[in-house]
């Protein structure tokens, strides 16, 4: 879309300011379009999710834009082994956003790159913060850690892409399983038993301390482990720690005297000023993870304070909804995994 005409912009704005506020599709200002979340969409990823906002029904085809199109984002988490430098805790989260050119047919490729780096930096500034880094990304303390790569793709943009991205990221991160590992240590032959010439069947000794009792090895210093191996175990691994603190985002679109949520792309064009707010609610306690104002315009401080209160309320609703959906998805996941396991056996 090449933008809107002046009359369309003024029509949208005056409709929003009329009493009661009216939107093109009849929603109230604080109504979201239907949101669909599905986890485990990428089989090779450690965790993945697809989120769409505003698609009328699953199973119905994607019609021409405007008819049935919504915003659609897929996020996938891949864990990679990474060395840990000095004075580093280990473990990091690296975000990247790519936008499909099909989602933005009117953008030239440099403009698309700009948009991608914009969204990447927004996501990175929130999710890559050290305070959010899960502890169990460390494999061998001081040596090896998982680098968590969170890649997202915007397949279609019908407005409110940031909220959609953050929802997808949170869903993918909650879906992520960290493979269980055992650390491995090299030991000089004979240090344990004294027989100097005994050869190297047990040159490599598996450290059992993480998975079971190890009465013989209690004196071992954990930092002597230098490498690891993947546990050959039926489980996919453990969930990320601190999964309660990955935030959701609520974008408030601000038109003086009112604000509204989940803008369509037309509304975004007509009302450029918006406030992205990221909240998480670990244990029900609201925590703000960031805030960014985008678009041209100003807003006075008292209004911002009020908006933040509203934003927290909206974010809490969204959080509760997403938690319920993710719990459902998780139950489905174990059923699916079991079916796959037993089904494979019987065959």
């Amino acid at each position: 879309m090449t933008g809107l005409s002046k009359v369309e912009i003024s029509y949208i704005r005056s409709s929003l300011l009329s009493d009661p506020p009216l939107r093109a599709d009849g929603r109230a200002p604080e109504d979201f379009r239907p949101i669909a979340v599905e986890t485990g969409v990428a089989p090779l990823a450690n965790g993945s999710a697809r989120v769409s906002i505003g698609q009328p029904r699953a199973g119905r085809g994607h019609e021409a834009e405007g008819a049935g199109g919504g915003t659609e984002v897929v996020a996938a988490v891949k864990l990679e082994v990474d060395g840990v430098g000095d004075d580093e805790e280990g473990g990091k989260v690296i975000c990247s956003v790519s936008c499909s050119p099909a989602a933005y047919p009117h953008l030239s490729s440099p403009a698309l790159d700009d948009l991608q780096s914009d969204l990447t930096s927004l996501l990175g500034s929130v999710l890559s913060h050290p305070s959010l880094c899960p502890q169990n990304l460390v494999i061998v303390p001081g040596q090896k850690a998982w680098a968590l790569r969170l890649d997202t793709i915007v397949f279609a943009d019908a407005g409110n892409v940031v909220d959609c991205l953050m929802l997808a990221c949170r869903a993918a991160l909650v879906d992520t399983r960290v493979p269980s590992t055992r650390s491995v240590e090299y030991r000089a032959p004979g240090r344990q038993s004294g027989t100097l010439n005994e050869v190297p069947d047990d040159l490599m000794d598996v450290d059992q301390s993480r998975n079971g009792p190890s009465s013989m090895l209690e004196t071992r210093d954990p930092s002597s482990a230098v490498d690891f191996e993947l546990a050959d175990y039926w489980d996919e691994g453990k969930v990320l720690e601190s999964r309660d603190s990955w935030p959701v985002c609520v974008t408030l679109n601000m038109l003086p005297t009112i604000h509204f949520l989940d803008a369509t792309s037309q509304e975004e064009t007509a009302v450029p000023l918006r406030l992205h707010t990221m909240f998480s609610f670990p244990g029900g306690k609201p925590t703000s993870h960031g805030m960014r104002m985008a678009g041209a315009g100003t807003s006075d401080m008292t209004q911002i304070g009020l908006l933040l209160k509203h934003a927290e309320k909206y974010a809490r609703n969204m959080w509760i909804g997403l938690e319920a959906k993710l719990a459902e998805e998780e139950a489905r996941r174990s059923v699916k995994a079991r079916e796959k396991f037993y089904g494979g056996r019987r065959r």
Binding site: T2, S5, V7, E8, I12, P20
Partner: protein, 283 residues
Amino acid sequence: MDLDDLETGEYRLTCPGETITSAHDFMRGHGTYVDDELVIASVAGTVQRVNKLVTVRAARSRYNAEVGDLVVGRITEVQPRRWKVDANSRQDAVLMLSSVNLPGGVQRRKLESDELQMRTFFEEGDLLVAEVQAFFADGAMSLHTRSLKFGKLRNGQLVVVPPVLVRRLKSHFIALPCGVDLILGLNGYIWVCKHMQDADHGDEGFDAEAVYSNQNDEIDGPTRLAISRVSSIIRVLADHFVPLTDTLFLEAYNWLIEQEVNTKDLILGDLGDAMVAATCSVR
């Protein structure tokens, strides 16, 4: 598929890869290919035959213009003596400066000053309704707005649907009794706006101020609500891939009023299915 079917002239749907007829007796047209001496459809759509030429018109494609079609378009670029218009077609359409009505009467000659102030007539992003006048050699269409019915669009909002859903009607300017006007562009762009009083002044009274204005009129709440309702109806019908006609809008609108529901439930809930079932069964 037999020749008989083609003879009867009935519409027949194809899937890609479906055999239509023998290549000995017929020539292949658009949307078909020949394999093993058989004409095979390469798209999903309706089979059409002109003498010995068999074509398949795709059910889902961009807009294929024909001369005389009414389209709604959006200006994408202002160029020397012409505007480029996005009309949901494969290429941008062209609107020449010489094919628009200019202030000061129809017979007025185009001056250099007109070329210099083209943005006062149409600028980027503006929506307009026009008629397809002709085609250029490269297939791009040329539009004209040389009628008082055509020109810049105001007082409403645009709804986009797949172009195949808009049928050719007697008139594409539809006035619904709820105070809403519809302009059904054959390219799938539908303009939903407040009802305009019919301009009874002739060409002499051509009011450039009003035609090229960038200001909306005063629109009251109920009208806005009706516009939003009608737009939602169109979206829901398009989601269900129902071809659009004026009677259908009316039935759907009345049904919606009878049910006494909010417009948003139409988009959010199952109400859309119910509406489509109710209105389409009547037909």
